[in-house]
């Protein structure tokens, strides 16, 4: 098998594990009953209020802001950068000419630096704060390392020769049609893709499940209407 083919099949595998694995975990969460009302203060009284609360948690990290300003700053920078990068990458993964997304893609350098800065801050906190060091397992450090590796290799892809955007987009679009040839000849791109695929493979089995979890946590998802509504 050619390198291009191997990378292509790794991407297929990673996407399959990521989607099916995560769907299975979410299905498991949804199957589990919520026998009692356990909203945590400040709990809104209505469904719309709950939607607003979840939105503030997801977009602004409201509770983390109350808890620790430094963790909030690094965590928010990292996640905002990640969102920016994800949007930029859509330019490769969606078909056709996409002027807006291509504009976003052209600014991914800044996003990469912000993401890396956030991750570095989080890594320093994990190592330097004794309380966080105490609760960290090797997997917690490895996860930060993996994310940093993805971001750094990605930034190197952009500055090193060999990885032409048009060629890469053609390769990705080819994958949709089952054609795994045509991977650009750029070692940092290979590393970048492999690291990203590893992330996808571990996602459903790791703490990355906080991504669906933040939308499903009963303490935040329930409205404060227990006296009016039985479970």
């Amino acid at each position: 098998m050619t390198l291009s083919g191997a990378v292509g099949w790794l991407m297929y595998l990673s996407v399959a594990v990521l989607t099916v694995g995560t769907a299975c975990q979410v299905a498991r969460y949804l199957r589990a009953p919520v026998p009692l009302k356990i909203p945590i203060t400040p709990a809104p009284a209505t469904g719309w209020g709950v939607a607003g609360r979840i939105a503030r948690e997801v977009l602004l990290f409201e509770s983390l802001f109350k808890a620790s300003r430094s963790t909030w700053l690094f965590g928010w920078l990292f996640h905002a950068g990640l969102l920016w990068l994800a949007l930029g990458h859509l330019a490769f993964f969606l078909p056709g000419s996409l002027p807006l997304l291509e504009r976003v893609a052209s600014t991914m350098g800044i996003a990469g630096w912000l993401t890396a800065a956030g991750l570095t801050g989080l890594a320093f906190r994990r190592v330097l704060v004794d309380r966080i060091r105490y609760v960290s397992a090797p997997s917690d450090y490895l996860m930060l390392g993996l994310l940093l590796a993805i971001v750094c290799t990605g930034m190197l892809v952009a500055v090193m020769p060999g990885a032409d955007r048009v060629v890469f987009k053609a390769y990705v679009q080819g994958l949709y049609a089952g054609y795994t040839g045509g991977l650009p000849d750029a070692p940092f791109l290979w590393l970048h893709i492999v690291a990203a695929c590893v992330l996808g493979l571990v996602f459903p089995f790791s703490k990355l499940l906080h991504a669906p979890g933040v939308f499903l946590s009963p303490t935040r998802l329930q409205a404060d209407n227990s006296r009016e509504q039985r479970r």
């Binding site: 589990a32 203060t41 509770s63 906080h210």
Partner: protein, 492 residues
């Protein structure tokens, strides 16, 4: 020593000291107390297998646990939020570390990564030393939920403490204080184990005392059919100080408002210790007593007295556990808190109040953890903070709040909640009260506070006991409705 915001006057964090609180563990339940609740009397032979089985059952039966086990990213947001960590410095009292005692075992037995790569993901076996840690540290959690307010995913350590305690009960490793109390409620209807004649006698004594003090024949009815209100209050209110003065306050309010009320022998207990041990069945059995009493007495309303975790069960669970309570008057909240009753009467001008009668008192208000973070009042957001303070300000001219990082949703637990109120836990109770006491000292320094008012039986017992350890007098703890009762201008 490092400084970190968000904890008010307790801005200096403790030096982390592994094992600092390892020796503090509550007495174990005796075989008879265990079997009264349907649990094995002593540690069963195949405890490991049964514990793992029960864990799986609990996780499968709870979306909260399922999500909480997976979602934690170990960000550390909760690590400096627990009063037991701040007071003891024991790292296993950091909320995430406490959860991890459960999570690491779950990973080992229920996840792919934990089975094959335990060291990598921090998965651990449930061996004897882990079980010992469970017993110790899941009994150093008052289920106050402060950590959950700050967690980005709302992960609630109380859910872990409840689940772990239930697993331990299932294998015959129960806690004496909680299980003894629950057995008493099942048998007699209250946590103190008071039979009906003793209760009737206590209430008759209160009638005499109150008439002597106020000159008005205030009644303390028991098991009176046809009353409008069934008052369900913690049994400590019948005897203990300063609780009993709160009960006198409720009686005075009902008297002045002309509301016919009654207590019930069958449900002479608001506190529901079934919550503490995470046992749905026990919690429901205790909750159903209230429904049965209400039906038996034919009341139109159920009102709860001052009790924190009790109000959580009443406000959030009773409708589900013992409902629908549609035989009650829907014009009132079902159930209703005594503070809501008094607040409503004050708002409507139905009570004559002379706050100057409390002028010798300078009061601060302690938000009880489970009222603050696990329930509501008044039907509007933050009502559980606004209503007690509105009542307090109506009956008392000198009211000062503690630091804002230590009240409201950020309130510190008294240090005695969720079954830790035994003498065997005194060391941890005193240390766990430290963050609250630092905030009290700060407001005392600024305003010369004489009393801390509160609306929870556990808070009252706990502070009465620990105040002297901080150079205060035990009688500086006061029931909110004691202040109400003293300020009420009584008419015949």
């Amino acid at each position: 020593m490092k400084r970190q915001g968000g904890n008010g006057p307790v801005s200096v964090l403790p030096t982390m000291t592994p094992g600092a609180a390892a020796a503090s563990k509550p007495a174990r339940a005796e075989p008879a107390q265990q079997s009264a609740l349907g649990f094995p009397g002593t540690l069963v032979e195949d405890w490991h297998q049964r514990a793992i089985g029960k864990m799986g059952e609990l996780v499968e039966g709870s979306r909260a646990l399922s999500v909480f086990l997976d979602a934690c990213v170990k960000c550390g947001a909760c690590t400096d939020k627990c009063h037991y960590y701040l007071g003891t410095g024991d790292p296993k009292n950091m909320p995430v570390a406490r959860q991890d005692l459960f999570r690491s075992v779950y990973r080992r037995h229920f996840t792919w990564a934990g089975r094959w790569l335990p060291k990598l993901v921090g998965a651990k076996d449930l061996d004897e030393s882990m079980l010992e840690d469970w017993y110790t540290y899941f009994h150093q959690c008052s289920q106050c939920r402060r950590c959950a307010v700050y967690c980005p995913y709302g992960i609630d350590t109380a859910e872990f403490a409840m689940a772990a305690r239930e697993v331990m009960d299932t294998i015959g490793l129960g806690q004496k204080h909680t299980n003894e109390v629950i057995a008493k409620v099942h048998k007699l209807g209250n946590n103190l184990g008071l039979p009906q004649p003793v209760l009737a006698d206590a209430l008759a004594g209160l009638e005499e005392d109150t008439e002597e003090e106020s000159g008005v024949p205030v009644r303390f009815p028991l098991d009176e059919k046809g009353a409008e209100v069934l008052l369900v209050t913690p049994s400590a209110d019948f005897f203990a100080e300063p609780h009993v003065d709160g009960l006198i306050g409720y009686a005075k309010v009902f008297h002045q408002a002309g509301i016919r009320w009654t207590l019930s022998t069958h449900a002479a207990e608001a506190a529901n210790f079934g919550l503490f041990i995470g046992s749905y069945e026990n919690m429901q059995a205790i909750g159903l007593r209230i429904r049965e009493a209400a039906l038996e007495l034919g009341v139109r309303r159920i009102v709860f007295g001052e009790c924190g975790h009790a109000w959580r069960v009443a406000y959030n669970f009773l409708n589900t556990l013992a409902g629908p309570l549609d035989f009650l008057d829907s014009a009132y909240p079902v159930p209703q808190h005594m503070v809501e009753v008094t607040h409503d009467l004050i708002e409507r001008g139905a009570l004559t109040i002379d706050p100057s009668r409390n002028d010798a008192r300078r009061v601060t208000f302690h938000d009880s953890c489970n009222v603050a973070r696990a329930s509501g009042m008044g039907g509007k957001a933050g009502g559980q903070f606004a209503l007690p303070r509105a009542v307090l300000r109506a009956v008392c001219n000198h009211v000062y709040d503690m630091h804002r990082d230590t009240i409201g949703e950020a309130t510190f637990c008294c240090g005695g909640g969720a079954g830790l109120l035994g003498e065997d836990m005194l060391d941890v109770r005193v240390k766990g009260a430290m963050p609250r006491m630092r905030a009290f000292e700060a407001v005392d320094e600024a305003h010369g506070i004489t009393h801390m008012a509160t609306i929870c039986a556990i808070c009252k017992s706990q502070f009465t006991k620990v105040f002297p350890h901080y150079g205060l007098r035990f009688d500086q703890v006061i029931s909110l409705h004691h202040l109400v009762g003293d300020a009420l201008v009584m008419r015949r």
